[in-house]
Symmetry: C2
Subunit: 362 residues, 2 copies
């Protein structure tokens, strides 16, 4: 859908994501925070340590440590779990970030093997955990991003956590989008994190920060994590541009997460009323979902462009392809959604539905 | 020297380093660059790619890639050299950054063994390279920071580079302070880098940027380096705060490096005239040198504090201890030096010399 992709960003209104922001505007925001302190140095300094403390408290963990990336934070967490048990094997979902986006860093850097739990197109279950017997750690991704941000029922999650603990298996949470799911579970971050021995959260996804992540766990685990951060080359001279941005956007958007979810629910409900269009999950459990279609691809593209032109509105982001080569849209609701009149959304979706019924499909 | 250490930063004039800068002032500088573009994304975007191209040209290498840290850049370079030769062994100076500051990341992450060349307190020589027969790579650090920033003679350096190439051994340059040595060698960066198959340079040392590094080599090597950067967790969502700062400070200070060297030479010459004080090297070959002393430690501290009080000037930075537990000062000349009247420096050093002669030593 190249035509739609190239035109959609020119629409005045977007439903997907947060507004784009220039480097200058982004940096200007952080200047205005009046950070007159001298910055951090190799992970020390009030700017970084105060924020780590704030997040540790929020997650209910003894210590939190700021990492430049989630890729690094998660490899480090799994390595420590493996070293502690002298087992170089971990288990996770087949579409886990480590499996599909990290060039097999866990294997090539840490020589850790992976057990894939269940099937790619669904969540893994308590039963699937049987194949994880004898691993050092299980990684849980909440929500499971590559399948539209699905979540296990809270009861099932508790049982899976218990299963790991009974076996001395480390449970790690890929909580890149942790704050996006708290409204659905009706839990605090600390209540969710209590099920896991370590947790990673991201500051550039739902929060919209520049970059950066936090890894949190108990003190001994985090002492090891700092060593491994240095070994990875992540103990960077100054992290403050990331930290300032992370803290600012975390505080700005933490309490907006329930609104983002509500907006995602509303859009998904309306899209699912169009024959040939369906969302995964049917009812979103976070601010994200995927949009699949069985209608003609060319007709859908032309219709989305008509909506663009008529309403100055991009209903969906650019499309991508899943592992089965099926085209889909990955939608997540952020600040842009709130700037659009809900009545216009409804009209645009009605228009889209009508356009998709036309006989004269392209 | 805790008393001196705590008081020295309050002096209006400092000879060591660049001025400290608050987070706000630093960020404000980058805002003023009018970066109205949207930033980078996972290593793509004009802001990062243009700078990489600028540095690649400067270093005379086919490709350059921005890394969050030198620790990561150098491990990656050595790993690729080892993989290409199916040899997991590299050689470097006993006080190489990888050996003493990186928690043995090369060993624990990459399972690469190290051969230490020569003795800690001197440069390694062509003769020392004999023990590197059969390694995949030799790392050259120019200047050798932990021994005061020493440099081999250009002829010797050429011979060592030839030695490596004749044996198919990868030669890597730790050029964290590469631009600081060009005036001494009377060479361009590209002429120095031509002796090496890969090179890393830092942007937060002499250049005074926020953080960040560049690794440069030929195209095939750098294609592998990008893969390894992702595996290390260094392929960060947005690197622009580092890149903007690196480019700004690189352009600001590149041509000041000869001045920094001249200032370091002048200070070292004057310090060496004081009995009981000597610099390593005797004549600096870059903007840095180390200061050792045989005079009474308490007397030296009291005298430096007297200079502080009388001239509002900190002649030296805080002290540290070397591997033999000998106390020393690591001095490097940057922008602060130029703000001090040379006549005042001369007077202060005369005063220091006189103070150190007192019989009533503390």
């Amino acid at each position: 859908m190249h035509r739609y992709q190239s035109q959609r960003t020119q629409a005045s209104f977007q439903l997907h994501g947060h507004p784009g922001i220039s480097m200058r505007d982004s940096l200007q925001t952080y200047v205005n925070l009046e950070q007159s302190a001298p910055g951090d140095a190799y992970g020390s300094g009030a700017i970084i340590n105060d924020f780590e403390h704030e997040i540790a408290l929020e997650l209910g963990k003894q210590q939190a440590n700021f990492f430049p990336s989630g890729t690094m934070a998660q490899q480090v967490a799994l390595r420590i779990a493996c070293d502690n048990r002298a087992i170089a094997r971990v288990a996770y979902h087949p579409l886990c970030h480590l499996q599909i986006h990290e060039q097999q860093g866990l294997k090539h850097l840490h020589r850790i093997d992976s057990v894939l739990l269940g099937e790619p197109n669904r969540l893994f279950s308590l039963q699937d955990l049987q194949s994880a017997e004898g691993v050092a750690a299980v990684l849980f991704e909440l929500p499971q991003r590559e399948i539209g941000g699905q979540l296990p029922a809270w009861d099932e999650l508790q049982k899976m956590s218990d299963w790991c603990r009974q076996r001395g298996i480390h449970s790690h949470l890929d909580g890149a989008r942790l704050f996006e799911i708290l409204a659905y579970y009706k839990k605090t971050a600390a209540q969710v994190c209590a099920l896991f021995d370590s947790v990673y959260i991201s500051f550039y996804k739902g929060f919209g920060g520049v970059s950066g992540a936090i890894l949190a766990a108990d003190r001994g685990f985090m002492d090891s994590a700092k060593l491994w951060k240095r070994r990875h080359g992540g103990d960077i001279f100054q992290l403050y541009p990331y930290v300032v941005s992370a803290q600012y956007n975390y505080r700005l958007r933490r309490d907006k997460m329930p609104l983002y979810w509500k907006n995602a629910l509303s859009l998904a409900e309306q899209l699912n009323q169009i024959p040939g269009i369906s969302t995964v999950p049917k009812k979103p459990v976070s601010n994200m979902f995927h949009v699949y279609f069985t209608v003609d691809r060319g007709l859908l593209e032309a219709s989305l462009i008509e909506v663009l032109q008529k309403y100055d509105l991009a209903l969906l982001p650019g499309s991508r392809y899943d592992r089965d080569n099926r085209e889909y849209f990955e939608f997540w609701a952020g600040d842009q959604f709130s700037a659009v009149d809900p009545e216009v959304v409804t009209q645009a979706i009605c228009f889209l539905a009508a356009a998709l019924k036309r006989e004269d499909a392209i």
